[in-house]
Structure formats: C-alpha cells, structure tokens
C-alpha cells in the first residue's frame, strides 16, 4: 500500500528539515533511517508511476524482487551502520539522509535518466563523505573520476536516446533486444565505464585506494557495503536486465571483472594495513559480482552481494574503529588487538570467514551457489579464477586474523604480553551492531532458507536465467 517513493522523498524531506533544525539533525537522521527501514517491510511489489504519465513517457519506480532485495539491504545496513557509529556523524547527518534517498532512488528507478540523477546525488554525497578523512586530495580525485564516469554514462545515454528514443528501462530492453548487439558496443561500453567507476571495476577504480584507506568507522562500512551494494544493484539492473550485451562485449567485460577480482586479491595480499587489505578485497569482490551479473547469473550475484555487504560492514566498522581509536591500522602494530575485544573479534572473524566462503557462514552458501551457477552456464574458466581468488583471499584474511588474535614473533609461543599496547576501544553500540550482523551471517550459513526465500525471485525481471541450477540446500542434490 505504501508508495515506495516515500523511501526517496522522506529522507530528502528530512534532510531539508535537518538543515533548518540543525540541533536535531542527528535525531532526524535516526528517525529517517528507522522510518525507511520500517517502510521497506510494508512495501508491495509492483510498478509505481510518478506524476501520472504512463511509461515509457513518464517516470516510474519498479519494485520487483530485485529492487526489493536491494532496498532491504541498503536500508537495513544503513540503519545498522548509522546506529553503530552515531558519534562519528560530525555534521554529516543531512548528507547521509540525502545519500539514503539517492541510494533508494538508484535501486528503485525504472528510468535511465532518472537513474543518472540519483547517481549524481549519491555520488555527491559520497564526495562529501569521503572528505571526512580530511584527505581532501583523495576526495577531489574521487570527484574528478566520478564526474568522468557520470559524463561517460550520460554520453552513452544520449547515444541510446538518439537511437531508440526512450530511456525507460523496460521499454529500452525490449527495443535493444531487437537490434544486433554488436552495433551497440559503444553506448553499452560508455554506460559500463560510467557505472564501473562507482562499482570499482579495474582499471576505472583509481580513486578507491585513496578514499577507502582513510575511512572511519562510519564512512568505511557505508562505502564498502551500502554504497557498493547500491551501485552493484544498479549495475546488475542495467547489465543483466536492460542492456543486452553481445558475446564479444560480454566476454570482454566478464574478463575485465575476473581481472578485477584477481588484481584486487593480489593487491590485497601485498598490503599490511587492515583498511588497505579490506579495500582491495572490496575491489575484488566487486569484480566478482560484476562478472556474475554480466554472465547473467543475477540470483547468485545478489547472494554474493549480500554476503559481501554484510561482511564488509563488520570488517570496515572494526577496522575503522581501530584506526580511529589507536591512530593506526597497521596489522603489525595491532597484534593481539582482539584479546580485549573478543566479541568484536569473533564478529570480525565470522565476517572474514564468510567473505572467504567458508562453511557454517552465509558466504559458503553464496559461493557454492555461484560456482554451481557458473558451471551451469558452461563456463569452466571463471570458477578457476574465482577459486584462485578465494585461495588468495583466504591467505591474507587468515594472515590478518591470526595476527589480530595471537600476538608474538615467529618461534615463540603466543602470549598476552606481546599484545599491542595501543588503546583500542570499541563502543557497545558497535559491538551490538557487529553481533547482529554476524548472527545474520551465521543464520544464513546454517539455515540458508531464511535468507534464500527472500532472494529467490530477485532474478526475475527479465528472467533469462531460471534459478534451476540452484544448489538445492534441502536435498543436497
């Protein structure tokens, strides 16, 4: 019954209100995120037309399973992350409200130009948030590259509009499908690059290093899980459902995604700072998910996306908090950091293991499904890349975990005395948030049906892949 446009309008409204009532802006933010999260649960699927013009002429919101999963993840994680790091808001409350609106809009919109608008709104909030680290140079880099991406996206859009005369997604997908895909390489590629900047596909992701490596416990998880999830949902929407890719372009882009995965993992392996490790891991995961979307495996891509978003929220929160309270996130200097923070440590561990895809955690379920999916699309090389990536990812994650849990040099028994003396504090709100997210990961791993059922139909807008390959968790066969 509730119109999903409220998800966009309400935060925007609250953002304007918060500018007026500066004193209450944090409360307004909490109120807005809570309200949004509550609203998500009451939504019904369907098409919502804004302004009375029927599509393809008017603007419309599409709330299918895919979008529903998207806003569920975005609003849910946004809420948890905000609540975890309220003390880090520092006047970003209004920006965050705008960001929430933008992200919801991204996922919900059914129109490519509308999407561009939301993309810009979201990007602008991201630029602002990235300046929270006081490294304005990196924020500026981000701004430059983000603008470049938007520009290319817009350019691609113009070409499409010139050819097909419409920007409505459903309409466009039908019209584009009728044309030989090889003639649409340029606009598809332009749109791809435009989105790839935000999705962090190699080599368009030069900004990530600077921006992510300085994030605090609020901005880090927001970027790595909420923003990343939002952008990937858009990416999936467009490339799995709207723009049909020719074999050539599809293969090239999947290769690019696979390369991103490998490059990200390999780069993470060579790093020692926790946030740097995590940011490269994020790049790798983005590459993987993008490759899955490009292969048309929407369902498993969403599963992996959820896994990545949940895990990264925990990981970046802890890493950001470490950097915030101790002034460093160098793994070597934080040896044994979890000794005094066991719950957060366990959460961090669960998140890391889930990210690697180890059993008992949700990551395992998603990794199994995505591998089965890829095999069923008769692609035998991508699993090799993914498994290689998993090995590398496991290596650096375990290396990091071992360091954070058990201090001590090689050759001597690990002892409490070797633990770091830096004063690490983790607020109870963060601990609680971490517990909630880890429990979700655990439940997803042990009783996958709970998460599964909410995702089952999210690949169904164009439904080119029926999820028949799904590893049936109840039968095992």
């Amino acid at each position: 019954m509730v119109n999903p446009v409220l998800l966009i309008a309400l935060p925007l409204l609250l953002a304007f209100v918060s500018i007026v009532f500066k004193a209450y802006k944090n409360n307004l933010l909490v109120f807005g995120t809570l309200l949004n999260a509550g609203l998500v649960l009451t939504l019904n699927k369907g098409q919502y037309i804004i302004g009375g013009f029927q599509p393809p002429f008017g603007i419309n919101l599409v709330l299918d399973d895919f979008a529903l999963t998207g806003i569920l993840i975005i609003n849910g994680l946004f809420l948890v992350i905000t609540l975890m790091s309220l003390e880090k808001l520092e006047g970003f409350a209004s920006v965050l409200l705008v960001a929430l609106a933008g992200l919801n809009g991204l996922v919900l919109t059914g129109d490519l130009f509308n999407l561009f608008v939301f993309l810009e709104i979201t990007a602008i909030t991201a630029y602002i948030l990235s300046s929270a680290s006081k490294e304005y140079r990196y924020a500026f880099n981000y701004l430059v590259l983000g603008t470049l991406g938007s520009g290319l996206y817009l350019f691609g859009l113009i070409v499409l509009y010139a050819v097909f005369g419409t920007l409505n997604m459903a309409d466009l997908s039908v019209k584009m499908a009728a044309v030989d895909a090889s003639q649409l390489v340029l606009p598809s590629l332009l749109i791809f690059i435009g989105l790839a900047v935000e999705v962090k596909i190699l080599p368009f992701n030069g900004w990530v290093k600077g921006v992510y490596s300085g994030t605090n416990s609020l901005v880090g998880p927001l970027f790595a899980s909420v923003y990343a999830a939002g952008m990937l949902f858009v990416f999936g929407r467009i490339f799995a459902q709207v723009i049909p890719l020719g074999t050539y372009l599809r293969t090239s882009l999947v290769v690019l995604g696979a390369l991103t995965l490998l490059a990200g993992e390999v780069a993470a392996l060579s790093k020692t700072r926790i946030r740097e490790i995590l940011l490269y891991s994020s790049i790798g995961q983005s590459g993987l998910i993008a490759a899955l979307f490009l292969s048309g495996l929407v369902f498993v891509a969403v599963m992996q996306l959820v896994n990545n978003a949940l895990s990264k929220a925990i990981l970046f929160t802890v890493a950001g908090q470490m950097a915030d309270s101790t002034g460093t996130d160098e793994g070597e200097e934080l040896q044994g950091a979890f000794l005094e923070h066991k719950i957060a440590g366990v959460g961090f561990t669960i998140a890391a293991l889930s990210l690697i895809g180890l059993p008992l955690f949700y990551g395992f379920i998603s990794k199994m499904n995505l591998l089965f999916g890829i095999f069923y699309s008769d692609n035998y090389w991508l699993p090799v890349v993914i498994l290689l990536g998993t090995v590398i990812e496991g290596t650096y994650m375990v290396r990091l975990l071992v360091k954070l849990w058990t201090p001590g040099d090689e050759g001597i028994v690990s002892e409490k005395a070797f633990a770091t003396e830096r004063p690490l504090t983790i607020q109870s709100s963060k601990v609680m948030g971490i517990v909630v997210l880890s429990v979700v990961l655990l439940i997803g791993g042990l009783l996958p049906a709970v998460i599964q059922d909410n995702l089952t139909d999210s690949g169904s807008l164009l439904d080119e892949v029926t999820p028949a390959y799904l590893f049936d968790l109840k039968g095992g066969q």
Binding site: L202, Y248, A263, S270, V398, V402, W405, L447, Q477
Partner: protein, 608 residues
C-alpha cells in the same frame, strides 16, 4: 540412530566445553576428554549400525565401514591427546577457544567421514580446516597457520572444482552415484581424479604440498601436534581413498597406459608418494627440533599410506589402511612424549635436552615403543602394516616404490633414533636435575597408546578383520588371515609367533645376563674420556648435527619450499605491480586506462 546424535552432540559439546571453560579452565579441558571419550565409546558400540543414514539441516550422512574406521582412528587420537589439554590451559592464549575448537574440529572430522554427499564432505572438510587453522597460531608460529591454511585451501579449492565438475556431468552429488558416468570418459575422469585428489594430497602432505606439515606440526601447541599428525593428516587419506575406490580409478583408467598394471595417472601419484617418503626421511634426519622431526616423519609415512591406497589390492591396501591406524597412534604417542618433555623443560630442541630417561622413564618407554612402531620393527603394529605394504609392492613388482619404501624404512631408524638418543638418553643437564616425573593424567593416555601399539602388533586379527570389510566394500579381495597368520600370496606372517620367539630370545638373553656377576652402578659422567676429567654434562652430550657426515651429502639440496616461497613472493610482487599500475593517487592514470580500455574494446568490437 546413534551416529547422528554423536555428530550433533559433538558440535554441542564443543560449545559446552567453551562455556565450561569460562567457569573453570581445567573443567573445560576435562570436558574435551569426556566428550571425545564418549564419542569413542559410541563409535565402538555402534559398529552394528554401520550403513545407517541420517540428515542434519541440509547435510546428509551415511555411516560406511571406512567412515567408521577413519572416525574411530580420529576419535581415538583426539581422546588420548585430550588428556593433555588440562596441563596447557594456563599457558594457552585462548584456553576456552582452544577447547571449543578442539572438539569442533573433531566434530568436523566425524561429519566428514560420515558424509554421503559431496557438498557435506566439502563443508566438513573446510570446517576442520578453519577450526584447526585457529588453534595452530596459539603455538610458536603465526606463519605456520597461514601456510597451513593456504596449502589446505589450494587443495580444497581444487577438490571443490572437481566436485562441481562431477555434478555438472552426473547431475548428482551423492558420493556413490556422482562418479558413475566418469567410467565411460577416461579423459574427464583423469581431470576429475587429479583435481579431486588434490585436497587429499595437501592434507597428507605429499610432495610438493608437504611444506605445511613441519611448520604446523612443529609449532602448533604441544597438545595439538599429536592431533594434527596422528589425526587430521588422515583426512587426506580418506579423500585419496575416495578418489581411487569410489571413482573407481582402476575401472576408469582401464584403457590408459599402464606400468606394471598400474594406470599412468595412479603411477604418477605413487611417484609423488615415493618422493614424499624419500624427502620426508632425508629432511627428518637433519631436523634439530624433535617436533619438526616427527612432522617430517609424518610426510614420509603419508607417502606409504598414499602408495598403499593407490594400489587397491589385497595386501598393500590393507597394509596402508592398517598403517594409517598404526601411524596415527604411534605418531600421537611420540608427539605426546615430546609434549611431556616440553611441559617439564619448556623446549623441544633436541640439543637443549638430554638424559630425560632418568627423570621420566615412562615417557621414554612411550617414545621408544612409538618409534619402534614408526620404524616398522616387530613386534609393534607398524611392522605388520609395513610388511603388508612391501609384500604387496613385491607382488606387483613396483620397484621404484619399493626403493623409496626401503629407503624410508631404513631411514626411519636414523631419524627416530635421534630424539631417543639425544633427548631421552645421554647426559642429563644440570638444570634438569630436579625435574619432576610426568603427572598421572599424562601417564594414562601414554600407557593406553603403548598397549594399543603392542597389541595390534601382536594380534592384528581384529583390525585386519575390519580392514577386510573395507576391502570388500571397496570391491577388492580382502586380506586373508588364518588364526594369527596373515597369508600373503608371496609370504606368511604369524605375528604371535614372532612375538613369542622374540620373547623367548629375550628370556634367554635375560637369563644370561642375570647369571653373571652383578654390575656396579656408576654415574653418567663416569665414562671413558681418554682419561680426561669432565665437569660439564651439557658439553659431553652428542646431540646437534647427529648425522653430520650424512647430512653433508645433501646439504645443498634443491628446496621446493624455496620454490613455493618464491611463487608466493611473486604473487606479492604482482600485487605491488597492480597497485603501482592501476591504483595511483593521480586521476590522470585512471583516465589513461579508461581511454585505453574504451579504445581497445571499441576497436575490437568494430573489428568483429
């Protein structure tokens, strides 16, 4: 019915052990003993229920003979080692978590051995890997855990690929059915076989995946090394068994080139096994740390087990299955003995010890019996199994495997003797004058293991009976026994007679000894010194570089560790290169790459 309860109970037991540890560490440690002993009891009593099937959550299980046998070995090792846990509670960084992970990994192995579909198998495989990964760094090395995890995950990821491939081909994950279509397609079968067996190879520590063993076994907590070496390594043997027996490799590779009746694919793996034997032996000989030494011996023994399993015949296979048990308990006993020494002295370096027999004779005896079995000398269990393997090799005429087996066999005398001579015998150091003997709780498992090693060396009938059942289940001729005589096609072995004659010889020898004049007891320092006076026992103790002349012969050996290390470093460098190429703080670089990609893909697209 009992088995599903065991699996679930063990997982619950892991959590309860953690909770109990929060109340009292010692109690938590005892809980590990109680739970693992309980599992052992249930396993032994539930033998009649072999063949039962059950499901937990989305995982499916079936109790097979081989699964039962493997889990019995595993639980036995865990149960015996768990007696030691309580002594390290105050030394351990995370004692509660240790107890938790200890039982958790045990539960994982149970699930693994009972799995009836490939995904369940893989799930428990990974559960065991990650749970043990977090125990290892509580010991002496953090790097060990990482190397262990990496090597394990290389294997398990390869196996996962194999599982996927099998599923794609056969459309089922049930272990008994999944491999059936492969018989018609030897090429795919080869690919599946090679990648599927990888996890097994990494876990047994077959060359070139052996590098994690000495690192992890050598530096894990003293209470976990026995489990790693005696127990977890055997998981690899299980995978190897699966890939040969369930695939079934001999049928699938019927048409391929054969060497002495062994398909080339299997022969290649056997050669890897043979290399492991030789390499494990050579490396064990030169180790300066007792635990590393036994770890390398595990590499060598893993080679035997692998070769035997790959033979899939009446003798060697039975020998290999039995060796698996013998090595498990003997290596656990040896590690436990070293653990006692480490508990009392705080070191496992051979050259820092000596004369421990004068302080802890029972430990010495445990170690002695364990190494007699490891070296395959009668009347211990290890002899029977090695005899079977070698008779089987002789029957087939696999001379290069036999060459390695002989080398490993004789070489094992060298390396097992080294800790015996330098840790337990020789001069007692002054600082160890006042060491106390081993505590009672440590004596219990050591005595049990000693008795078991001796018992199965003298009366292996029961054990070989079970192995016969396994062989029947795997579709090969079971090992023949009449009374206590093992009947091989090319020789017989009556272990009881060997034992009795040995006892007879010992008796005569004892009588001669007792008939003669009583000896005068002198101190250890009253020895022949070319009439020189000596005062420093630690200098009068031959421990370091024990086999120096022999070690010199291969000191410049090529090292696969260096090679693998170089590969790891190359990945590291690649990461730096990627970083430098693509992740610059200058946006111009990104713009440059963007235009490159744009141009390349567009031109490529236009070209097509």
């Amino acid at each position: 019915m009992t088995f599903d309860i065991v699996v679930i109970l063990m997982f619950l037991g892991a959590f309860s052990a953690y909770l109990i540890s929060k109340a009292s560490l010692k109690a938590g440690a005892y809980a590990t003993t109680v739970f693992s002993l309980g599992a052992l009891a249930v396993l032994l009593m539930g033998r009649s229920e072999i063949g039962s099937e059950f499901s937990v959550l989305f995982m499916n299980f079936e109790v097979t003979v081989i699964g039962w046998y493997f889990s019995g070995v595993m639980v036995l090792v865990y149960a015996m080692t768990s007696f030691f846990n309580s002594f390290w509670m105050d030394k351990m960084m995370y004692p509660g978590s240790y107890n938790f992970l200890y039982l958790f990994s045990l539960a994982g192995t149970l699930g693994l051995f009972f799995a009836s579909d490939l995904i369940t198998l893989f799930i428990f495989w990974e559960v065991v890997v990650w749970s043990s990964t977090f125990i290892i760094p509580m010991g002496k090395s953090r790097r060990a855990a990482v190397v262990y995890y990496t090597i394990s995950s290389i294997g398990s990821m390869a196996t996962l690929y194999g599982i996927m491939l099998v599923y794609r081909i056969s459309g089922t994950l049930v272990i008994q059915e999944a491999f059936v279509p492969l018989k018609e397609d030897p090429l795919t079968a080869t690919v599946v076989f090679v990648i599927f067996v990888m996890a097994g190879l990494t876990k047994i520590g077959i060359f070139p995946f052996h590098i994690w063993l000495p690192l992890a076994h050598g530096s894990a907590p003293h209470t976990f090394s026995p489990v790693l070496s005696g127990g977890l390594v055997k998981m690899g043997a299980f995978i190897a068994y699966m890939s040969v027996a369930i695939l079934p490799a001999y049928e699938a590779f019927e048409g391929s080139l054969k060497i002495m009746g062994i398909p080339l694919q299997l022969y290649f793996l056997m050669i890897l096994g043979a290399i492991s034997i030789v390499l494990g032996t050579l490396m064990a000989i030169k180790q300066e740390d007792a635990k590393k030494l036994i770890a390398y011996s595990s590499v060598a023994n893993g080679g035997y087990i692998l070769i035997g399993i790959l033979m899939m015949d009446q003798l060697s296979f039975a020998g290999s299955m039995m060796h698996l048990f013998n090595h498990a308990i003997a290596s656990a006993a040896a590690f436990l003995a070293i653990a006692v020494v480490a508990y009392r002295t705080g070191t496992t370096k051979i050259s820092e010890l000596g004369g421990m027999i004068h302080r802890m004779p029972l430990t010495y005896l445990t170690y002695l019996i364990a190494i007699i079995s490891l070296a395959g000398i009668p009347p211990m269990g290890g002899f029977v199994s090695k005899w079977l393997i070698i008779q089987g090799l002789a029957d087939r005429g696999l001379m290069f495997m036999a060459l390695a087996a002989f080398f490993g066999s004789i070489g094992s005398f060298l390396y097992v003797f080294r800790p015996l001579a330098a840790v337990f015998l020789g001069q007692l150091k002054p600082e160890h004058e006042h060491l106390k003997s081993e505590p009672l709780m440590m004596k219990i498992p050591m005595v049990i293991l000693m008795v078991l090693i001796l018992y199965f060396g003298v009366l292996p009938k029961w054990l070989l009976g079970i192995i016969g059942e396994i062989q029947v289940a795997a579709g090969i001729e079971p090992v023949m026994m009449s009374g206590n005589t093992i009947l091989a096609v090319n020789g017989v072995l009556n272990t009881l007679n060997v034992f009795m004659i040995f006892g007879f010889g010992f008796l005569i020898s004892l009588i001669i000894f007792l008939l003669m004049q009583k000896s005068r007891r002198v101190g250890l320092m009253d020895t022949y010194t070319s009439a020189e006076f000596i005062y420093t026992p630690e200098l009068y103790h031959y421990a370091g570089a024990f086999y120096a002349p022999f070690e010199r012969l291969y000191q410049n050996h090529p090292s696969v560790e260096k090679f693998l290390g170089a590969i790891a470093w190359k990945f590291h460098e690649l990461g730096t290169v990627v970083n430098a190429l693509f992740f610059s703080h200058k946006p111009a670089v990104t713009v440059f790459w963007t235009s490159v990609i744009l141009v390349m893909i567009t031109l490529g697209g236009a070209g097509i």
